[in-house]
Symmetry: C2
Subunit: 183 residues, 2 copies
DNA sequence: TGATTTAGATGACGATCGTAATTATACTTG
DNA sequence: CAAGTATAATTACGATCGTCATCTAAATCA
């Protein structure tokens, strides 16, 4: 049951794309290989042919999600826009297409070194992205610290806003954090 | 195979305690009923006798963890101590005994209503705990907003500090957030 | 173009998941 | 105090998990 090289590449890409969405929606340990491959229209065993193991697929899927989101956010220039977009209801309600840092952070400590390396690199990229958009008056080191603290706020806010059961409280979390960060 | 009422209560308590630790360490969907009951020295089926389902046990375990942590943190009075303790390396490196909000937040959106209700109540408790420790000069509403934003920072920082692979970056996250919050 | 190699999807496998029927014994009550 | 009842733990069950051997067809080269 072998397919053409082109088709195989397409299958791989489709698995990666669906996987990057699924793990953000259902979590890493909450997504079985069955779901991962079925979303791409194949039987679950094909994951092993393409990636060798679930762990490897997760590594690639995390990298895929981070790269895609990084590119998307690189097109936002003003810091206030960056913050507003991140703390929007739209972002909160769409974890599958949202920030992979926020969606996966709690599971990362239990993942393979490869996953954690990619996650750390992704976080570093966001830090410099945000730091680079800040006023140039202050020193780079202080700017990085400020960016670091801001990202912690952003991630914490979106994660909590998704977790709570009360829509009003959820909105309050986003609003209060936006106010504090000046978005 | 039945045991005394006292012993059964002890077993239940032991399962709850171990469960509240395990889910913080391994995640909710990452902890099987086998692990949950084995940690309490019993076979996995006993979970069903005591709690009816895994979901029910998780509800109780989340409530248990939140109650225990809430009481522990209620003994800290100064805001700066609260922040310092929360953002300490000790807290970062001990998720099983640490803040359940930070440990579970990412999985909460996918849990039962009961779990999310308990989580939301727990977050509300922390908000008022922190808000109550702030200067009384500003209005209660503004104080709550400030507390809300602070908690988002705290949670985001500890979660990211646990996730990254680089100890220096991890320390930086805690330090930068502490600086920004004035802990 | 036909034989050989290689890559990729399938289906079968053991392990582990959560649940429910079974069993044994502590409580209850006549 | 003995017989019946209720309850808690064990054990067995189907479903799903992740992995790997198998098979098929595309790619390679004479």
């Amino acid at each position: 049951m072998r397919v053409s090289k082109l088709q195989a590449a397409e299958n791989r890409e489709r698995i990666l794309k669906e996987a990057s969405r699924l793990i953000r929606e259902r979590g890493i340990s909450g997504t079985g290989v069955d779901a991962l491959t079925e979303a791409a229209g194949m039987t679950h065993g094909s994951l092993y042919s393409q990636f060798g193991s679930k762990e490897r697929l997760i590594e690639d899927a995390v990298a895929y999600a981070i790269a895609a989101k990084g590119q998307e956010m690189s097109e936002v220039f003003a810091v206030s826009d960056y913050i507003s977009k991140y703390l929007s209801a739209k972002h909160r309600d769409m974890p599958g297409g949202g920030c992979p840092i926020a969606a996966l952070c709690c599971e990362i400590p239990r993942q393979s070194k490869g996953v954690r390396d990619r996650f750390t690199a992704g976080l570093r990229a966001i830090i410099s992205q945000l730091s680079g958009r800040m006023e140039c008056e202050i020193k780079p080191r202080q700017r990085d610290d400020k960016a670091l603290a801001a990202i912690a706020s952003l991630v914490g806010a979106i994660v909590l806003a998704r977790a709570v059961n009360d829509p009003t409280l959820s909105d309050d979390i986003l609003r209060a954090t936006k106010k504090r960060l000046g978005g």
